[in-house]
């Protein structure tokens, strides 16, 4: 198990780094939400919830590779003692599932 996260940037710095990625990935990426929690093994991790345009589903591999690479490079979670996990859904799927944490 990884130990407790090392010194984390402030929430503002985190939010800024994440928000910088969104315009770079527009219009495929609509927004990104995140939280830090322990994963199923008890290791600390940052969880990204990436809301995609419906059209992004047609080129999902390309979009997911790029967004994960950008966020991992900008934030370097592992240097902070965090694994990074990504979840995806489209605007239509969220309209159907309506989960608050994705808004």
């Amino acid at each position: 198990m990884l130990s407790l996260p090392l010194a984390l940037p402030s929430k503002t710095e985190f939010d800024q780094a994440v928000s910088e990625v969104v315009p770079e990935m527009a219009p495929d990426v609509v927004h990104i939400r995140h939280n830090i929690a322990q994963d199923w093994d008890g290791d600390w991790a940052i969880y990204f919830r990436v809301l995609l345009s419906d059209e992004a589903l047609t080129k999902l591999g390309e979009v997911t590779s790029k967004v994960e690479s950008l966020l991992d490079r900008r934030l370097d979670p592992l240097s902070m003692g965090l694994f990074s996990y990504f979840n995806y859904r489209t605007v239509s799927e969220q309209a159907d599932l309506r989960e608050e944490s994705w808004n």
Binding site: G61, F83, Y85, F86
Partner: protein, 157 residues
Amino acid sequence: MSFADDLLEQADHLANWPPEKPKQASRRRAVSTAYYAVFHLLIDEAVNNWAVERQRSVLGRTIDHIGIKEKCADLLKRAKSDPDMPAELISVAQLFIKLREHRSLADYDNSKRWSIADVEAVLEAAQRAFADWRTIRTQPAAEDFLMQLLFPKNPRT
């Protein structure tokens, strides 16, 4: 095709069943199966390096899931100071860790709703892991990684 390849194919079938609207049960099983495809790929590759064929299945059963995650995490830390670490091997390590978490959630977290995008992203990740592994499987760094799966205890220096 290997057992691992068959699992990857099965994950794809599950993700799209029934075709008109895949059920949560199918999506969750697809995610889990995609992870197991990569898990068995790495185990098969590791034990196939063992010369005594009759011992390979027993050897494979000594490799556990958390052990692979730990070795992947170790590799990612080492990669930061090793410019010669193949990018594809780093990718495999990253993808395994991510797939493991997805598998745990798919198998055990009944509160999570899996979207089609989520499941397709997991399948893409597993397919990338296979492709990346096969690109570098004979390189020394990949061979060393497999050895660490079989013998996780660090050698005396």
